[in-house]
Symmetry: C2
Amino acid sequence: MSLLMVGTMAFDALETPFGKVDRIVGGSGTYATWAASNFIKPIKEVSIIGGDFPQEEITQLQARGVEFEGVEVVPDGKSFFWSGRYHLDMNTRDTLVTELNVLAQFDPKIPGSYQDCEYVMLGNLAPSIQISVLKQMHKRPKFIIMDTMNFWMDIAMDELKTVLGMVDLLMVNDSEARQLSGEHSIVKAAKKIQAMGPKHVIIKKGEHGALLFHGDKIFSAPALPLEDVFDPTGAGDTFAGGFIGYLARIKDTSFESMKAAVIIGSAMASFCVEKFGPTRMKEINGADIDARVKEFVDLANFEIRN
Amino acid sequence: MSLLMVGTMAFDALETPFGKVDRIVGGSGTYATWAASNFIKPIKEVSIIGGDFPQEEITQLQARGVEFEGVEVVPDGKSFFWSGRYHLDMNTRDTLVTELNVLAQFDPKIPGSYQDCEYVMLGNLAPSIQISVLKQMHKRPKFIIMDTMNFWMDIAMDELKTVLGMVDLLMVNDSEARQLSGEHSIVKAAKKIQAMGPKHVIIKKGEHGALLFHGDKIFSAPALPLEDVFDPTGAGDTFAGGFIGYLARIKDTSFESMKAAVIIGSAMASFCVEKFGPTRMKEINGADIDARVKEFVDLANFEIRN
């Protein structure tokens, strides 16, 4: 049961109240793939990188079962670059620099060997690229999740609505859900978004956790209460990667399984924010993940006695 | 196992995006008592009211096992009055009028018949009044919880710190926790507050639920996702009343029991916001509460498969 992963593989420069890095590997595809690779292999990656993208990162990912046939390399091009600075509360950030570089010419080609993927994650990219990927699949995959952002709502709402009609699940943060739906109430927003296509909606609320909606069912997952968030970059992508990786592993998309997947995604995200970039993702093992998931059980579990 | 309840019994005028009421019964003691009376009797009330407080409200509460010997009646005085207007997001409100009336002369006298109370709730009042109540108890009650607000941090911080040293649990909202501790991180704030005295801290986050802290243990309770909050007035007091009423009923203050009590409090608060004032509190029965608690179980429950 392989996983098709579409997203950026890039460089970031990050500045948080705890320090800064000038150049660290990043991108939605990178984060989500590191997270998902704890649960499922192979992961069939679709992305575009420049000749500057480190071979070591590719080798590490390949060792975890990630396939690169669908990753276009532009030898004399530069990888996508983003630079941002977080405010003290870590909930808001300023984008300092966005250099599309090779991403500007991204026109993904899905290799024949990728056609067997039953689970698909469309990372945050132009809706036209997300559509192109899905149109290239000969058979409709079993479960497709997508991420997006306010930027695409501002400049490509029609195409975004087209993708929404093609996927099973949208995950966005609360402000994006409000913008997309025009509703302030998160419950109303989720209902409106479900009416746009995706039968499942996850609304991420940062330190307040995440809500999963499906029909009239709702699941509320806590975030791990942390004294400090060192670097929130990639937490959402890591959440998504843990979520879809776990679903692909257990081969089940019932609401009960999806609840568990939200907890797995939240656990992976709680590691991600502990160090700069995907650093922490490369250090943890299965025992670390099990222990962290157990923390979520203790955090959310209760029993009513009369 | 009786419960000592200290709080205001008052009138409110309320304006929300859904409507307005000019004069409805309110007050921290009223809300908390209605909620707690679903779980425990007797409730021994300590408050002060004017001759204008409706006898019908008193009769209704007495029928639910609430004792009024400790409620001072000032026949020619007026009950405390508060008027507020909620903004569209329901998270912020403007106080339009505060008339202390008889509350200005509140000097509670604890009757001898109240000395057997093992559970005590100190509603949001001047810290000097909270201290006076505790000093009048001949024997240290088994479990004392308190509420407070930013107003007392501004004008009576020393006395507030004295009460904090006398209680087992403080419940405040997130902005109050930040002001009291000087910490932005909720986890750090809870630790600092624990160091001030209360071994347990509950931080209420409105639509994002509540966190319970005890030592290094944390429990995260969701709020019920609602399409609309009709009137948030009294939700915090109702939460507190459900919490302490349930603890007094099961006669246990272990962390596991306290987790359940947070869920009970959250369920009671979710009823409170459905109509103006304590209206909804007077309508619901045990079956309604059981069904609502079941919604919380479904909302928060998950099981991880490998």
